[in-house]
Amino acid sequence: MARDVNRELLELAAFEGEELEAFLPRWLETAKRCKLDDDKVAYALDVYLPQIWDLKYLGVRKMIGAYLRELADIVHTPEMKESGVKILYGILPAIANYYYAAKIAGGDKIFIGFPDLLMVNTLNSFFHAAGPFLNVAEEYGFTYGCRHCPLNKMRLGAYVTGTIAAPDLIWSWGFNCDEGPKTDEMIQGITGKKWN
């Protein structure tokens, strides 16, 4: 019988019972959008996750589960946007209380996320698989030689591949770096004004 690696992954991430069954289809779509094929998931299960994370702890496994959920949300922003949910993104470092305030005010009518952080963290920390998105960003002009930030590259790579929706608002901060806020101007320059 063929191995059901995605089910195994969710079990490892402390999903169980109805919760697992309910999340599995959404996760399968998420994996597809993130270019995580069965081989990559199997590699994560058998090699990468046990090597990098101390999986005997339930807390660690639940944390992985929480990130998988966040990743699933982020890559479903195109559908959210289509159904009228407002999309608010942020970048790090950021001051969190403004986002909490927006969430309290907007409730289910607003989705708030940090797409590049979630995608780089989840894909690289658990699957070692952010590379394809970063390669796309390089093809679009985030040159390799200049040592650009992978978070910013991910934002561009995820958007131009249609993996994430354009935000209704992106709240970019420039505490330590200039590149974060300027990335939004670059995405606009390359792809047009839909990226706000």
Binding site: G141, C146, R147, H148, C177, D178, K182, E185, M186, G189
Partner: protein, 387 residues
């Protein structure tokens, strides 16, 4: 013109020694960086000022590696590296080192100077220059800078003296514009190498010497023959800066038969197209002319669309055949702007070449660099001839 340039070069080279002597005689000395620090105020306050703008040498950036990551642009690196190597004679004696904070590269390098115990003073320059809060903030920073100057000199800033200095720098701007206008001729009578040197000298020598020299140079150039070959490809150079001492690339282009007829540079060049009104509030006049109304620097935001419109105007005004994108290594924001400009410029069918420099002009590096630039010039010649 050669004699005048040689005289200015001599004065410019002798400026650090002059400052050491002035300091010994009891004068205050400020070394500073950036257009957003009003040089006129320092001069009006009786302070001897010295602009940080040296580059083009690979050793100073190397010297910073004990303190800083290598991924900083070499011009910002040079600011610290020249100090570490003892090549900047002014920094050790300066009463203040005033550095505008508009960009992470300079921000980080300032921290190295602070770590070395130097008296750094920062002038904050917000990137989102179109919004009121930023404009107020910058004006507030100028107010604080004024207080610092007054404390340093022990006397209030003489506003009439500031106005006189504004008038003087406006006059320098006027003569630079007159000379610049000559570059629109079919065969400009001045090369970029000389024009940028001239700019650098005006930021080293005193106002009256600059004005006199510029007047004489204009008189000489007004009806002078062209300094380039007939029908030379007309090139615009764009980037952060062609620093004082970083003259290799322009020289190669000129030797290959190209004419750099205009520039779009953010630093190490006098903002000669932006006069500061003399009458009225001195803070407001400076902030409006240099921060609010000037073509935004690459780091500002939003900037790139406005800058591209300005680039198109320059291309038209100076009848430019091609653009040389002159980028400092690891200068990530310019690299990103280049991506957008490279996309947009295709629509107006103007060729552009990107050249990155880490100030590495060794014998081994020179051959491929020269070949590349010569090929660029040759290809533009061919395109021009085919038209």
């Amino acid at each position: 013109m050669k004699e005048i340039l040689e005289k200015l070069e001599k004065l410019s080279t002798g400026r650090p020694l002059e400052l050491i002597q002035e300091k010994a005689a009891g004068k205050k000395v400020i070394e500073y960086f950036g257009d957003y620090v009003p040089e006129q105020w320092m001069t009006a306050a009786g302070v001897e000022d010295y602009l940080i703008m040296r580059g083009g040498d690979p050793q100073p950036p190397e010297a910073t590696l004990d303190y800083m990551l290598r991924f900083m642009n070499p011009l910002a690196d040079s600011m610290v590296g020249n100090y570490l190597l003892g090549l900047d004679a002014v920094m050790p004696i300066a009463d203040k080192i005033v550095i505008q904070q508009h960009d992470s590269h300079y921000g980080r390098m300032c921290e190295v100077l602070e770590y070395k115990g130097l008296p750094v003073y920062k002038v904050g320059v917000p990137a989102d220059y179109t919004v009121d809060i930023s404009r107020e903030y910058y004006r507030g920073e100028l107010g604080d800078f004024r207080k610092m100057l007054e404390e340093l000199t022990g006397k209030p800033l003489d506003e009439e003296a500031v106005r006189t200095c504004y008038a003087k720098t406006n006059e320098i701007n006027y003569w630079l514009r007159k000379i610049d206008e000559l570059r629109k001729k079919d065969n400009p009578p001045i090369t970029f190498s000389d024009f940028i040197r001239l700019n650098h000298y005006t930021m080293r020598v005193d106002y009256d010497t600059s004005i006199e020299a510029l007047k004489q140079i204009y008189a000489e150039l007004e009806n002078a023959p062209g300094a380039h070959a007939e029908n030379a490809p007309r090139i615009l150079i764009m980037g952060r800066a062609v620093a004082q001492g970083d003259y290799v690339v322009p020289s190669i282009i000129e030797n290959a038969g190209g004419a750099i007829v205009t520039e779009f540079l953010d630093e190490a060049i006098r903002p000669f197209k932006n006069d500061i009104p003399v009458e009225g509030d001195i803070v407001e006049n400076y902030a409006k002319a240099i921060y609010d109304d000037k073509v935004p620097q690459c780091i500002f935001q939003p900037a790139w669309e406005t800058r591209f419109e300005h680039l198109k105007e320059l291309i038209k005004e100076y009848n430019v055949d091609a653009v040389l994108w002159y980028q400092l290594a690891f200068d990530e924001i310019y690299d990103m702007e280049h991506t957008c400009v490279a996309k947009w410029i295709k629509d107006i069918n103007v060729p552009m070449m990107k050249l990155e420099t880490s100030y590495e002009y060794s014998r081994e590096a020179m051959a491929p660099l020269t070949t590349r630039l010569e090929s660029f010039v040759d290809s533009i010649k061919e395109i021009k001839e085919a038209k």
